[in-house]
Every structure is written in C-alpha cells, then in structure tokens.
C-alpha cells in the first residue's frame, strides 16, 4: 500500500525528517507515536502534499505510484485521506456543497457520473449516522463554529463519504472527550475493510484501546527509533519516551 524509503524533509531550511522508512501493507493498522516535535505531523503533511515542505531525499510509493510527484487532489483521488489535527474552518461554504464538490470530483476521476441531489443526500444521511453527526451541521459552513468533537467527527464523516484506501488520522483523539473518542473510533472501525489501511498518529495509548493497531512505530527526532507490536503502547504509557532517547543520543546531540 505505502512504502516510505529514506525520507528526508525540511521546512524553512530546518531538517525535520531524517530518514524515515516505513512499509504498510493492505489491511494493516499502524500507529505512529512519539513526543512533541518528533516529526509526526510533518510526515502526515508531506504524505498529503501540503505546500511549504521540502523533500530533500528519499521516495514514497503509494500502490506503486510516486506519491510525492502528485498534487494534493490527485493523492485524494487515488485514495489517500488525512483527518486533520486542526480541521480548517471555511466560512460561507456549506458542508453539503463542500462534500458534494469533493465527492463528485472523486466520481469524475473514476469515470462516474455525478450523483443526483437525492442520491447524494441519501448517502450523506447514511454516513452521518455512522459518526452520529447532527443533521443541522450539514447546512452550516464547514467547521465554522463547530465544537472540537464536532470537527473531528466531521473529519471521519468526510472519510466515510470518500472511502479512502489509506487513511491518516493525525491526532484525531486530541480535544475529544471519552464519548466522542468512542464515537470517532467506532466510525473508523466500521469503515475498516480488509483492503484498506490506516495510520494512527497519536501521543497517547488511549485511542489505541479503541483502534487496535497491528504495529506501533515510535518516531523520534525525525527517525523511527522503535517498531513493535501493540504491547509497545502500554510500555510507552508506563515509561514515557525517555528510555528510547538513551538509545539515540547521537541524534539528540544533532538536535541541540
């Protein structure tokens, strides 16, 4: 599904990723954990093509295609989805129009006719039920005045509509109360198919109780310093990240 080879990237001349290697197969759920500033969000931004980041070395293959050569919309068409850590508010653009435009672009890419208004509304209602979104939110401007929980649920709703092959959940648990966390996690689990993969980026083990990963990676100072099974999350919760840093003192010097 996704193959990251020796990825180096910088922003404003400052190197953030220093050689990331990652292989994700179809059907797998990977968690990427790590302390603040380790490069987790940068990795997500580069995978989705956010402007402002410079890839200095390495390559990323998404189902065999060169991901880094694609525009953000192309990546979306090919099945990549990012649930934003901070979903963007778009005043004046209603959720319905936003979603209709996005979905029809996807259909156009697949050579399908745009959905009729009634077909679209039916699909939308169905997917909204999945993440228990209030139907009032659909006519409101995208994310404008939404609570933290509503914004994150809206992200998962969009994911449900677009049915991506690879979803990246960037700190989807931040700002959520326990109930909202459960709703969001349930949504993600129900959308999971044997041929789709998920990357969960998080600080805490809590989310991983609900979305159970196959593999956990620890990203530290721009590199993956540890890869293990799901039991690693519990160990991290107990010990913190400090014990991993000792193994990596050379990198720490570089950072300072």
């Amino acid at each position: 599904m996704l193959q990251i080879k020796n990825l180096h990237a910088s922003i404003g001349g400052k190197e953030i990723l220093k050689g990331v290697n990652l292989l994700i197969n179809a059907g797998e759920i990977h968690a990427i954990m790590g302390p603040n500033g380790s490069g987790k969000s940068t990795l997500a931004a580069i995978l989705t093509g956010k402007p402002g980041y410079e890839v200095t070395d390495g390559e990323v293959l998404f189902n065999g295609d060169d991901l880094l050569a694609m525009s953000p919309e192309e990546r979306s068409h090919k099945g990549l989805f990012l649930s934003f850590q901070y979903p963007v508010e778009i005043p004046g653009v209603s959720n319905v129009n936003f979603m209709k435009a996005a979905l029809n672009e996807h259909r156009k890419y697949k050579g399908l006719e745009p959905l009729s208004a009634s077909e679209f509304l039916k699909l939308m209602r169905e997917k909204m039920a999945l993440v228990e979104i209030d139907s009032k939110l659909t006519s409101r401007s995208v994310n404008e005045g939404f609570s933290g929980g509503e914004k994150k649920r809206n992200e998962i709703f969009q994911m449900a509509m677009l049915e991506p092959k690879l979803s990246i959940l960037d700190e989807t648990d931040s700002g959520l109360d326990i109930d909202a966390l459960r709703i969001v996690a349930n949504g993600v689990n129900m959308l999971k198919r044997p041929d789709t993969s998920t990357i969960v980026i998080t600080h805490y083990q809590r989310l991983l109780n609900y979305i159970v990963p196959d593999i956990i990676h620890v990203l530290y100072n721009g590199k993956i310093v540890k890869t293990a099974g799901k039991e690693l999350a519990l160990e991290l919760e107990e010990k913190g990240y400090d014990w991993l840093k000792i193994d990596d003192s050379a990198n720490m010097d570089a950072k300072e």
């Binding site: 956010k50 953000p72 778009i90 005043p91 435009a101 996005a102």
Partner: protein
Amino acid sequence: MTNNVDTAKLKYKNPVNAFINPYLLNMDLICANAGEAMNGARKKAIENFNINGIYNRENDKYKHFDIQNIFSYDYEKYFVPNAFQTDNDMFICDIYDLISYKIFLQNGFYTDKNEKLTVLDNGVIYGSLAEASVKYPEIFKKYYNQIADGKNEGLVAMNTAFAQDGVFVFLPQNAILDKPVQITNILLGESNSMVQYRNLFIVEPNAKANILICNNTFSDSKFLANCINETFVANNARLEVVRLQNEHNNSCHFSFTHVKQENGSVYTDNTITLNGGVVCNNMETTLAGEHCENHTFGLFLADRSQYVANYTAVNHASPHCTSNELFKGILDDMATGIFKGKIHVSPHADKTAAFQANNNILLSDASRMFTRPQLEIYADDVKCSHGVTVGRLDEEALFYMRSRGMEYRQAQLLQLFGFAYDIISKISAESLRDSIADMVEKRLKGELSQCIGCTYQCKK
C-alpha cells in the same frame, strides 16, 4: 438632434460648459413632457451645477480616478427617445424569468413597450416618471427633489437640471406589492452616449414593496450614465431594492441613491456589481423617524481594469434606529475598488445602533482596494462599530479542500463564492436570490464577463 459642434470646440478647455451647452440649447425638448415639479427644479439645479462643476474639488470622492477625463469625451445626448428596439433576444437573461412587473428603459427613456402608467387594484402606481409628474402634481410637489441634494454634488445637480424620464413607483397606505417591480435599464446606440434618468419610489405608511433594478448594455459604444434614485419610506413601511449592475467595461455608471426613512420603517438596499468599466455608487440614507431599520449591502466583483466605488452615508437623525452595512469585494487583475462609509449620529439620536463592515479579497498583486470608515458620533448613548479587512484567499482552506479531491481552481471558486454568498443571502426573494447566486457563480468562473469593451482584446 444634438449639437456636437459646441462640445467639440470646448471639450478640453471646459468640460462643464461642453456638457451644459447642448442641454441648454435643447431646454424646450427637455421640459416638453415633464410636469411642473420636474421643470421647476431645473433652474436652481443649473445654478448649482455651474458652481460645483462635474465635481467639487473639496469632494475627494473622485481622487482615485480621472473623472474629468470620463466627461471630456464626446457623448451623444438624447432629448427625445429613439425608436425602441423590439428585438426580444435582448432580454434573455437569468433574471428575466422572474415573476415581476416588468419595465424597460432604453437610454434613460421609458419605452413604449410598457404602459405609460399602470394603476393596480390596490392603488399602486408604477410607470413613467415624466408622465406621473404631469398626472400627479400633488405627489411630486411633496416628494420630488426633496432629498437629492445637488448643492454639493455636481452630478446630482446635473441630473436634476436635465433628467427627462425614469421610473415612478408609488404605494399608497397599506398597499402590498404582490411581486417585485423589475426595472431593466438598457443602454444601446451606435455612438458614444450619455444618459441621465431618475427614479422616484414612494412607499406610504404600512405599505410593502420589492424593487429590482438591472442595468445592462447592449452595444459596444461608450456609455456614460448618471442617475438618481429618490426613495421615501414612510411610517412602518418596508422597501427592499436590489440593484444588479452588469454593464460592459467600456461604460461608466454614476448612481446616487437618496433614501429618507420615517418611524418604524425598514429599508434594505443590495447593490451587486458584476461588470462595468467605472461604477460609482452613492448611497445616502437619512433615518428621520424613530425605530427605523436600515440595511445597506453591496457586493462587487472586479477584474481587468474595472473601477468600482461605493460611497455610503447613513445619517442617524433620530433615536432608537438601527443601521447595518456590509460591503464585500473581490478584486483581480488591475482592478481598483473603493469603499467609503460614513455614519453620522446626531446629538439627540440616543440608543442608536450602527454597524458597518467592509471585507475584501485581492486575488492579484496589481489589484487595489481603498477603504475608509468614517464615524461621526455626537450622541452619548450609542452602539457603533466598524471593521475593514483586505486580504487574500485562505491558503489553509485551499489545501484542506484540495486534500479532499477538489482542484485548485474549484477550491478557489468555492471559497470565493462562499465569501460572496454572505451578501447574496440577504436578498429576501428566493427566486431572485437563486438567480443572482447563479450569475455571481458564472461571473466568478469567467463565464459572465462582458467581452464588449474589454481592454484585453482577446479573441472571443
């Protein structure tokens, strides 16, 4: 018909004389069909125009463009209406399908396509201004030229001096207009033309009306329009006016809207400027009675070398009134936008609530926006606010939309449309709102550009 010889001789030395002479020579034609109130106002107006000229130097409205240059061209002036073009293809536009009382003006004259005056069962009168001024002298004596002040504004004086026709709408007490009056102004002609027309809208106590004004050009000559809307909204009356400006980019349009509101009245003005070379909208409202509500909204989309200015003045002369102003602009290429909003609160106008906002998006480096709020508050117990923004599209939002599969251009359009819809959503009639939303979307996509008079000279 016109006397261009004098104009040619004088045009660069003294545009005021150049303009005024052909009119003065045709005064008998100008006065021929108008009533006493219209003709009686002309003498004083000519004097005012002579004092002020086309613009008063103390008036800094026109400092961002060369207004003298606009007026120094040779324009043909019409003193009798030319034959009405019966070509119906002209009127196929998105707005034309609206269920409304339709009125057509050609080059400022009420055309013979319409009935001269229509009187509805509930006493509502609409029709030709000139005709009405002859037929209803008592109404004209009370209202005509009472609030359009030409003392400091040369163009208003010029219109008062020489305007021959326009539209008259009168709603007697308690009358409700069941559908909007739709005024379509058509500018048409082989040669460069100057037109002046004038509308008078009177809404008596408890009456309610919607008026739509569409300004269009149908030939590629240079046009200069100078028009006045005089509007009276009496006690507890409601009036909503939507103005849609879609003239080609080689035309200049000056409009002066003067409104007077009495106790408990509600007036809403919505000016949508889609096209036009130089568009200069002036809106002056006096809240004379208590508990009035005034809404003045505007949206302008300008590209190429378009120039769009909106000047507003809201005069809170009585206590307990609310005014709410919102103007939004999208500027591209080398376009220039201007907004100047004045709010004046008189000493005894306590409990005034006055709000003003102007938000603009610049899409190019060469586009410019000049904006200036001006609040003069002489009362103590008031709530007033103003705010201005000039910015670019939100890059974060663009990326967010692209990450969901939208192309850059589509993401941009959606964001711009969202920005503009804020104003469109204020239009109360759903069918009109939808068709204007449609036109704005087309304009943003570049499908509604006026090829006529475009300075780009691209092949159509």
